[in-house]
């Protein structure tokens, strides 16, 4: 009942964000247990949002320059983009209900 999350590198993320549609990016680490528990929540949000929101994963440890540019200090970090800009960010675990409330202002406009 959840959608698989696409994994992007920096170039892929920049292209997707630059297209202007809402994007929720999870910056994760491969050994991050909280990230693994967060991902089913993100998958459920992706499934319920459908084509109104792209939900993707980005390995924050694989590209230090990207992590530096986006000031990723801990994982998981979530950044919500819309119209090409970062509109909100949060760190740590969140339930699907919390995430749905968090993204609502961006995907309803």
């Amino acid at each position: 009942m959840s959608a698989p999350l696409r994994e992007l590198d920096a170039a892929g993320l920049d292209r997707l964000v630059g297209a202007g549609a809402p994007v929720l990016a999870e910056f994760f680490g491969p050994d991050c247990a909280i990230c693994r528990r967060l991902e089913p929540m993100l998958g459920a949000v992706a499934a319920s949002a459908g084509d109104k929101l792209a939900v993707v994963r980005v390995d924050a440890g694989a590209d230090r320059a990207l992590a530096e540019r986006l000031a990723i200090r801990s994982v998981p970090t979530l950044i919500l983009y819309n119209r090409g800009d970062a509109r909100a960010r949060r760190t740590g675990f969140a339930t699907a209900r919390e995430l749905r409330a968090w993204i609502a202002p961006e995907i309803e406009t």
């Binding site: 909280i34 528990r37 089913p40």
Partner: protein, 195 residues
């Protein structure tokens, strides 16, 4: 196929037969789940875990629907397809519709048919499962404000513990779905009425 041999009910003897008899006494004939057949390799531990489950499901103050919904959500998180089917069936037996079961699988407390206190406890359970050390006093106060007692908190957290423990056990031993389950994971529909 399970990764270990599961002893059929008709071949059980001694302590194992006592375990199977107790499971059938509570659940009905032919309803010894593969999980408890696997636990039957260590019958005393199987009995202790079945007793633990029965205390959780019969002694507490929270609804069966809430506890089964938490179990469904955990099974989805843990990718335990057998456990999703098992607890979806149990949730259905507690009166939940297919749509309400789907809501549990999508971690949506508002669609499960719970009252405000139990909606908050479902959310609390998911937060505790996600990162127990990130729970704050404000989280606890929030569910208390809706009427949850300390016993309710213990009960819902033990539901999380039990669900995770059984999911791990079922996954690591590949115990597989029981033949008395008729829940289609992809469609979220029951393919025949519960037996």
């Amino acid at each position: 196929m399970p990764f270990i041999e599961l002893t059929p009910v008709e071949q059980a003897t001694g302590e194992l037969k006592q375990l199977y008899d107790e499971v059938e006494r509570v659940r009905g004939a032919g309803r010894v789940s593969n999980l408890f057949k696997a636990y039957g390799k260590f019958p005393a531990l199987g009995r202790a875990n079945f007793d633990r489950l029965m205390v959780l499901l019969t002694k507490g103050g929270l609804s069966a629907r809430l506890k089964e919904a938490v179990m469904v959500a955990l099974a989805e998180i843990n990718h335990c397809t057998y456990c999703v089917a098992f607890h979806a069936t149990a949730m259905n037996a507690s009166g939940a519709s297919e749509a309400e079961i789907l809501a549990a699988r999508q971690f949506d407390p508002d669609g499960i048919g719970l009252d405000p206190k139990e909606r908050a406890l479902f959310e609390f359970a998911l937060k505790a499962n996600g990162d127990p050390h990130a729970i704050t006093q404000a989280d606890v106060d929030g569910v208390r404000a809706l009427g949850a007692t300390d016993a309710d908190l213990v009960e819902v957290l033990e539901t999380v513990n039990t669900g995770n423990a059984f999911n791990l056990f079922a996954g690591a031993l590949g115990v597989g779905a029981d033949d008395f389950l008729h829940y289609a994971l992809d469609s979220g529909r029951f393919t025949q009425a519960a037996e």
